[in-house]
């Protein structure tokens, strides 16, 4: 736990200042892994992630010409982009069905119809915090998920002359599929959905729905060897990449990564 906090603070403090912030509802994939209970026992996920967003002005032809541009009187560049790093943790979770066997088993496949309700809190660079209720439900190898982020932030412009407090919200709806290999303890998944995305700063706020897809790589344990391996409990570690695609009418796009420790 300590190492996670140090790592996050280290990353946060070495990031070059400037640029706009991204508001994106968090991913539901770590929560989906918890709800599946493929690693029996863990109910909490600690996630560190980064988001890089951009706006493709070349595809701007059919949308409002001001969409990708910042007000030129305040900022010289003419295209909107943003960067964010975020640390996210579950504080509350309610899972179904209950997992009685937390030791695991040789042929443990998790719950076929596992699901859960979660409440997360997150802190993003810089000076942005929020809460996110989440929901996820499995149906065999597929799952659906929904998350909403309510964010409170204090934003600075590039020259630090102006600052403002802003409240923002973002919704994420989608689903995914995952294949688990319990002989190794590896999982591979795909997920996609639509998300509300905002790139905002003191003097502008660009918001749109964006379609995204992503790849997931999971390593987890569920063998009944807790005592023999002197382990406190089972764990999962998830790496995800998300890409939000731009189209003719929707020039916003983003690229995001996240690392989640599920314990």
């Amino acid at each position: 736990m300590r190492k996670i906090i140090i790592l996050f603070l280290f990353f946060a403090s070495t990031i070059a200042w400037g640029g706009a912030d991204n508001i994106l509802a968090p991913s539901f994939v770590p929560q989906a892994i918890i709800a599946k209970q493929i690693a029996p026992g863990p109910t909490r996920a600690y996630t560190f992630g980064g988001i890089f967003s951009d706006c493709d002005i070349k595809t701007n032809s059919k949308s409002n010409i001001k969409y990708c541009e910042t007000p030129k009187s305040l900022i010289l560049k003419d295209e909107v982009s943003g960067t964010n790093y975020r640390f996210d943790v579950n504080v509350l979770s309610f899972l179904w069905p209950k997992t009685e066997n937390k030791e695991g088993a040789e042929n443990w496949n998790g719950h076929l119809f596992g699901g859960g309700l979660f409440l997360n809190v997150h802190y993003s660079t810089f000076l942005e915090a929020g809460i996110s209720p989440m929901f996820t439900q499995w149906i065999g190898p597929f799952y659906i998920g929904a998350t909403y982020a309510l964010t409170f932030g204090h934003y600075f412009d590039e020259n630090k002359d102006f600052s403002a407090n802003k409240i923002a919200g973002s919704l994420n709806l989608g689903g995914g599929v995952m294949g688990f290999m319990s002989n190794h303890g590896l999982g591979f998944g795909l997920h996609s959905g639509i998300r509300q995305m905002q790139i905002l700063n003191v003097d502008y706020n660009v918001k749109d729905w964006i379609f995204y897809y992503g790849l997931d790589f999971l390593t987890y344990s569920n063998l009944p060897l807790l005592d023999e391996s002197n382990s406190k409990g089972h764990f999962g570690f998830l790496t995800s990449i998300d890409i939000g695609v731009h189209t003719e009418k929707h020039p916003l796009m983003y690229w995001a990564f996240s690392l989640s420790l599920i314990i």
Binding site: M181, H184, Y220
Partner: protein, 423 residues
């Protein structure tokens, strides 16, 4: 990127080992090569490659297979459903899936540079050695075109390789044969119809594959490795679970008159103590984590202990879980109580990081120092008061467990924690 060969993918079914495949493909038919066009400010070379070399690795778990590899210069991922007779697979170029969509380009949509597809495979084993199979696919393929711009600055530019993407549907068949116990080969023929440029292409692929141990990055692989060491030790250790030895939290001056104690008298009970360092003669005597403050000193911690006088042995509790293990009283010595690692270094680090962040936000050094001090103090308070010190990492220093006690001293210390009360 073109559709990968199918036979090796199908052979990964129910294989514990990883499958490694090397394939050589030859392309024929209406390929777009041999032509050169000159325009006023550019020229284009039609130079579609005549072949590809592919290296792929698959790992499997029953009906699901995952693979990764290179098709000449294109890294790709492949996975899907697999069974002895039917397979369904999808693949995608890694760059076109994870990087290209985020690039700004003249394409209207992010997915204009996408390469990937899906394939349905039917396999019929003829006998132990031979198998045949049929494939049907739909894919978005990528191929080479060389293009050079000419302008007033650069007249004779070298043409640069650029990808061109097209949609293809097609099918094929393959024959595969075992070479020996550990390797096989296949010959595959595939026809594809280019729907964008209306071309017919043929691919002939020779594929050879074998098996090797998979890399142990799975959580269960790691767990098995960790357990293996202790399972070896457990063969020579007497172990029990703490259900068979009931735990009691009070030290040993309970009166024998209560019903509870009568019960524990018969079965024995473990004493729960503050986490204590114990020095052992050998690291094989324990299934807990062994610390070596100096070489040849083997120290473990325990939160449970009891002394069995009849057998002159001691039961100790493993770090996590319910396992207890027995050690001869002659081969252990008691040491200090466990102390948690110092928080000083950690507090200073958090304070420094807090200062760094505050400087970037406020721009004022004195205020940032104050904020940093506050952050450091906050973390120290959280770890000092909020968390159980026995659960944190222990302080290990060279003098730990250096004091040796006499046999009498050890026995007197152990007699505080009898497993069974004397009548």
């Amino acid at each position: 990127m073109r559709p990968p060969p199918a036979a090796a993918y199908m052979d990964s079914y129910k294989k514990d080992k990883a499958l490694n495949s090397a394939a050589l493909s030859y392309y024929a038919g209406q390929l777009d090569n041999g032509k050169h066009e000159d325009f006023s400010y550019s020229h284009k070379s039609h130079a579609e490659w005549w072949g590809d070399v592919s290296f792929t690795r698959f790992i499997n778990s029953g009906y699901f297979t995952f693979g990764w590899g290179f098709q000449t210069f294109t890294p790709f991922l492949q996975s899907g459903f697999i069974s002895p007779y039917i397979g369904l697979t999808g693949w995608t170029g890694v760059y076109s899936f994870t990087v290209a969509p985020f690039m700004k380009s003249n394409e209207e949509s992010s997915l204009g540079h996408y390469a990937g597809g899906g394939m349905l495979i039917e396999q019929i084993p003829l006998n132990d050695k031979w198998k045949i199979g049929f494939t049907e696919h739909i894919s978005r393929n990528g191929r080479e075109v060389y293009y050079a711009y000419e302008d007033s600055y650069n007249i004779q530019q070298i043409p640069k390789s650029r990808p061109r993407f097209y949609t293809e549907v097609g099918g094929g068949f393959y024959v595969s044969r075992s070479i020996n116990e550990n390797s096989k080969m296949s010959l595959e023929f595939r026809y594809g119809r280019d729907l964008d440029e209306k071309r017919n292409r043929i691919a002939i692929t020779l594929d050879i594959w074998g098996f090797s141990s998979p890399i142990k990055i799975g959580g269960n692989d790691i767990m098995r490795d960790m357990a293996q060491k202790n399972i070896e030790k457990m063969k020579h250790l007497k172990t029990a679970t703490s259900d068979s030895l009931q735990e009691r939290s009070a030290p040993s001056n309970n009166t024998p008159s209560s019903k509870q104690d009568l019960k524990t008298k018969e079965t024995g009970s473990l004493h729960t103590i503050k986490r204590q360092w114990i020095r052992l003669a050998d690291s094989n005597q324990t299934v807990s984590h062994v610390f070596e403050p100096i070489p040849t000193v083997y120290a473990v911690t325990t939160k449970g202990i009891c002394y069995e006088e009849e057998s002159n042995s001691v039961w100790l509790k493993q770090d996590y879980g319910t396992t207890l293990y027995q050690v001869s009283a002659d081969s252990l010595d008691y040491c200090q109580l466990m102390e948690r690692k110092s928080l000083a270094g950690f507090t200073v680090l958090e304070g420094l990081l807090g200062t760094l962040i505050a400087v970037q936000i406020t721009g004022s050094f004195p205020i940032s120092l104050a904020i940093g001090a506050g952050v450091g103090t906050g973390f120290w308070a959280l770890f000092n008061f909020g968390l159980n010190p026995e659960e944190l990492a222990p302080k290990v220093y060279p003098e730990l467990c250096s004091e040796k006690h006499s046999k009498e001293q050890i026995l007197n210390w152990l007699k505080q924690y009898p497993c069974r009360e004397k009548p």
